[in-house]
């Protein structure tokens, strides 16, 4: 009995292997040559986040994030320097896990979201180091002020996902001087800059 089921399973596996190899051959034949692909940042599944942190009095870090944003990037494994990324952030979606503080952060002292509802990032150049890291330079617009910023990005991973899609994921860090973007509210000598901690997973369109 046991012997019979092993034999049966072997035959079955063989059949599946043939079907898969045929299917792969068809897929490869149908695929366009490898080139830059466009990706939607997976905000729907929340496999992307825009986090910030700023020192509180110099004693600890206050951590928060923007809950709502959307974006796309194009990426070619063979030619990462041609990559492009564009992100639009709903400034009012700032969330530091404290409603009263978030209300203040949306007000004129900080983001002034009534006047400047969107923050955006559009890359202008990507310089890979050849070892999975890159400098992404781009124009960042916050509170109506546009300045070039540099994001230190690292390729985390990519490939087929278990549900029929194809994904690429990156992480990035950058630092902003609040005063550069017209945020002049005095938070103390330790709290002039805010660090952004970015995690982006894209699904190929």
């Amino acid at each position: 009995m046991a012997c019979y089921s092993i034999y049966f399973a072997k035959g079955y596996t063989h059949m599946i292997a043939r079907m898969v190899s045929l299917g792969l051959a068809a897929l490869v034949a149908a695929s366009p040559p490898v080139s830059a692909a466009d990706y939607d940042i997976d905000t729907k599944g929340a496999h992307a986040s825009i986090n910030f942190r700023i020192p509180h009095l110099g004693f600890s870090w206050l951590v928060g994030r923007f809950d709502t944003f959307s974006g796309t990037f194009s990426y070619d494994e063979k030619n990462p320097s041609a990559a492009k990324v564009a992100v639009e952030i709903d400034a009012a979606s700032i969330n530091s896990n404290h409603a009263e503080r978030d209300k203040h952060l949306r007000a004129v002292d900080f983001l002034d979201v009534a006047q400047f509802p969107k923050a955006t990032f559009v890359s202008t150049s990507v310089t890979p180091d050849g070892a999975g890291k890159a400098k992404i330079v781009g124009d960042f617009t916050l509170r109506g002020v546009t300045k070039p910023i540099t994001i230190d990005a690292v390729f985390v991973g990519g490939g087929d996902d278990p549900w029929g899609g194809y994904r690429q994921g990156f992480a990035g860090k950058t630092k902003l001087v609040l005063a550069d973007f017209g945020i002049l509210k005095e938070l103390g000598p330790a709290s002039k800059d805010v660090e952004l901690d970015l995690h982006v997973e894209g699904i190929r369109k």
């Binding site: 009012a92 404290h98 409603a99 009263e100 978030d102 209300k103 949306r106 005095e186 938070l187 103390g188």
Partner: protein, 177 residues
């Protein structure tokens, strides 16, 4: 000293409620105005809003007592008022109650929008009842504009009281004095 209100004048309870609330509401307006402009390193940056919240919630409680007391007492009527004055006075007096309720409840919603309770002088804490995203923003707008409306109404009310005090010879202004 008469405790309850009569046809002629307000009793002791109404007068204490009226003047303590008048004082508290003006003080809360000034405190609120001042505290939102405080520097982050001001020693009052935390204590001023704490005081504002605590006093505000106590005023809300006192307002509840006042409305209840109003409902179980007769209303003094101003015999020396013209029909127009009487109508205007009725509108202003009646408008105060919902505006004050909205003012204090909206303030409560700002601080409790994320589920945090409000601590009243460390004596007790009032838990959040409604937790909703961006509730603090909507409540903040309502709180600000209702505060201006209450101040405008209080200005009108004071001007009318002073008019009865200095222009008219009647007893109207003394009903609450």
């Amino acid at each position: 000293m008469v405790i309850r209100d009569t046809r002629e004048r307000y009793g002791a309870v109404s007068r204490v409620l009226h003047w303590s609330m008048a004082l508290a509401v003006f003080a809360l307006f000034g405190l609120g105005w001042w505290m939102v402009g405080l520097d982050y390193y001001s020693p009052y940056y935390r204590s001023a809003p704490d005081l504002h919240r605590s006093v505000g919630l106590l005023v809300l409680f006192v307002l509840g007592l006042r409305i209840a007391w109003r409902l179980v007492n007769v209303k003094p009527d101003g015999d020396d008022l013209t029909p127009t004055e009487r109508r205007a006075s009725r509108i202003v007096h009646v408008a105060f109650y919902p505006l004050l309720v909205i003012l204090m409840v909206s303030g409560y919603f700002i601080s409790t929008a994320d589920g945090r309770a409000i601590d009243v002088f460390g004596w007790f804490s009032v838990p959040a009842l409604v937790v909703a995203p961006r509730l603090e923003d909507a409540a903040g707008l309502v709180h600000e504009w209702t505060a201006y409306a209450v101040m405008a109404l209080a200005g009108l009310h004071s001007a009318a009281a002073l008019k009865h005090r200095f222009w008219d010879s009647g007893a109207t202004h003394r009903r609450m004095w």
